[in-house]
């Protein structure tokens, strides 16, 4: 009996340790705070990025109307949440939801009379080439856009309906962010394309019961202003300004397009774009991973007047080429920052690597009809950001990633499904999405 006691006590101790480890598994997981979502400047970049992507689609397909929706889910966020039942805080699994929708109109306000009108070809609604034609040179087009991005965490609620089955519902959790663009577009074909608009950045706190009282009142919302000018679809300038300062600008040159103005381009030459972007990225904000210039005397509660700003300069080159039904594209982006930046955790100077990003993607169109596509895309990338290890349990500040996408296009409807893991375009929008799988679906209707 004494020998039994001798073994039982260590056994019980080991069992308790094991049970404690198993049962506290969810609490031991990394707990995420959705802090970079508070960065309205970064969110403004994201919503503009999609705005410009939609307009690229509108121009390249000669559309008059585009309505688009995009739903994106990031799983496995564990967020410290207050439990009103226990009166304590615990790590709760949540899902980050990001949704985007857009409605855009473009129509000619002046079209010069052409000497040889092409009206002989009958219209075939399954063949876009018979009813979507390039805009006539010297015509003037006017466009309007309303688009918006919503970000926020939601918590899934399990509902047991007895013999009627089980279902789930979802609650809003923590701050919800609504960023909207209202913009006007003017085009003098093919010489000048202008976009000008306002970005409305709104943050709404959900109610304690998981619901949200939404109210879009432009007079109470933070605003940013953006403009874009493109000459001959070759030289493009894009900028974003806050109330008191220019936050970012981006200049790019499509070399192939530029050469084609004066000479005939050999068919083997890819589309080559080079660009330069200036972005006031580090601002001593609580969500920034670094302090600007020095850590001395700084804290996350310091006043705005004491905050310093550092600008990130990036230089990029993109190449793309189609070989029949096969598409290839690749890009590299180099970087430097104009001031010393200091890691908030170690207070050591952060040396940014020269290469911030490279990516490559390939696609194959399984259909070979004008206006109809069924493209399978695969892409890989390497991305660096000093916020990576600050906002996650990722051990360093660079990562490799991939995406796979199926993209279906018909003359009036497009559908797309994408899965990704550490894809740079997702991490650039939200660094906390690192080491998480992302599922995304989108659809559009266009005329």
């Amino acid at each position: 009996m004494r020998a039994l006691h001798h073994y039982i006590i260590p056994f019980i101790v080991l069992l308790c340790i094991h049970l404690f480890a198993v049962n506290t598994g969810s609490f031991a997981q990394y707990v995420y705070e959705a802090s970079t979502l508070h960065n309205a400047a970064s969110r403004s970049q994201t919503v503009q990025q999609i705005f410009y992507q939609r307009w690229d689609t509108i121009f390249s397909n000669y559309l008059h109307f585009d309505a688009y929706i995009h739903l994106n889910w990031v799983y496995d966020f564990y967020v410290n949440s207050y439990n009103r039942g226990t009166g304590t805080t615990q790590a709760v699994p949540m899902r980050l939801v990001r949704t985007f929708s857009d409605i855009a109109l473009l129509f000619p306000v002046y079209t010069p009379v052409t000497e040889t009108p092409d009206e002989a070809q009958p219209v075939d609604i399954t063949d876009v080439s018979t009813f979507r034609k390039p805009w006539v040179d010297n015509s003037i087009l006017l466009g309007f856009t309303a688009c918006g991005y919503h970000y926020g965490l939601t918590r899934t609620v399990d509902i047991n309906r007895g013999s009627a089955g089980t279902e789930s519902a979802s609650d809003y959790a923590f701050s919800q962010f609504f960023d909207d663009i209202v913009a006007i577009t003017a085009v003098f074909v093919p010489y000048v394309t202008l976009h000008a608009g306002i970005v409305f950045n709104q943050q709404i706190e959900p109610n304690e019961d998981g619901t949200l009282d939404y109210n879009f009142d432009p007079s109470t919302i933070t605003k940013r202003y953006f403009t874009s000018v493109s000459l001959y679809n070759t030289l493009t300038w894009r900028s974003t300004a806050a109330k008191d300062r220019l936050e970012s600008y981006d200049i790019s040159l499509n070399i192939t397009q530029f050469l084609s103005i004066t000479t005939t381009i050999p068919s083997y030459l890819p589309q080559i774009t080079i660009g330069y972007k200036k972005y006031q990225k580090y601002n001593d904000e609580p969500y920034d991973p670094v302090w600007v210039s020095t850590a001395s005397g700084k804290s996350n509660t310091m006043s705005d007047s004491l905050k310093q700003h550092a600008t990130l300069y990036t230089y990029y080159t993109t190449l793309s080429k189609n070989f029949g039904n096969f598409f290839l594209a690749t890009s590299i982006e180099l970087q430097h920052v104009d001031k010393t930046i200091v890691d908030k955790r170690t207070e050591q100077k952060v040396s940014l690597p020269v290469m911030r990003l490279w990516w490559a993607k390939a696609g194959y169109d399984l259909m070979d009809r004008p206006g109809w596509d069924f493209i399978v895309w695969l892409g890989v990338n390497k991305f660096y950001d000093p916020a990576m290890s600050y906002h996650s349990k990722h051990s360093d500040n660079d990562t490799g990633g991939w995406f796979a996408m199926i993209d279906g296009t018909s003359p009036y409807i497009t559908l797309s499904i994408k899965a990704s893991y550490n894809d740079y375009s997702e991490l650039d929008k939200l660094i906390e999405a690192i080491d998480k799988y992302i599922i995304e679906g989108s659809a559009s209707f266009r005329i």
Binding site: Y149, H150, R155, I159, G162, A169, D180, G210
Partner: protein, 173 residues
């Protein structure tokens, strides 16, 4: 052309002035994931039980009833919810009660009677608006929005939560 231009501009202005696009997309996502859309109130009354009140205004076309849910565990806001009130006998839980009024869309109050309440503690309640699936109930080759003679077995098989409330906290002494 000017008239068409003005019409399009007005349409665009009306759409963008009333509902921002960020909310439209979020609303659609909320429909997919059954987002909590309306608030309710709930309080304990000694000798009566827990009184749950709401204002949901469901449509009549496919309305099947209201269901009342309560957290399964005491003192845990994030626990699973179980049904404690419905117009049919769909649960064997000791906390469950049938309330025939819950099949009426104008009902806005439910009393979880003292005899059906769990042990003391903090609990959370929700209200679900239940709707019929659109299907061929009459076997006439055409889909109907609801059965002409609803019963418990049809309710168990062909209903789903169309809308759900946020949570309301109640302390049961």
């Amino acid at each position: 052309m000017p008239n068409k231009f003005i019409q399009i501009l007005l349409l665009w202005a009306i759409v963008t002035a009333n509902v921002a696009c960020s909310y439209v997309a979020d609303y659609i996502e909320g429909e997919i994931t059954n987002r909590a859309r309306f608030s309710i109130s709930a309080h304990y009354e000694a000798g009566t039980g827990v009184i749950v009140e709401w204002d949901a205004n469901p449509g009549n076309d496919s309305f099947a009833g209201y269901e009342i849910y309560m957290t399964k565990e005491a003192n845990n806001e994030f626990a699973e919810y179980i049904v404690v009130g419905a117009c049919y006998d769909i649960s064997t839980s000791p906390y469950f009660q049938i309330d025939a009024n819950l099949d009426n869309p104008s009902t806005s109050r439910f009393v979880h009677q003292t005899g059906n309440l769990p042990q003391s503690g903090i609990y959370f309640y929700r209200v679900g608006v239940i709707e019929w699936d659109e299907r061929d109930y009459n076997n006439d080759g055409e889909d109907e929005k609801k059965p002409s003679s609803p019963d418990e077995s049809l309710y168990e098989l062909y209903t789903n939560i169309a809308d759900i409330s946020g949570s309301a906290m109640v302390e049961i002494p």
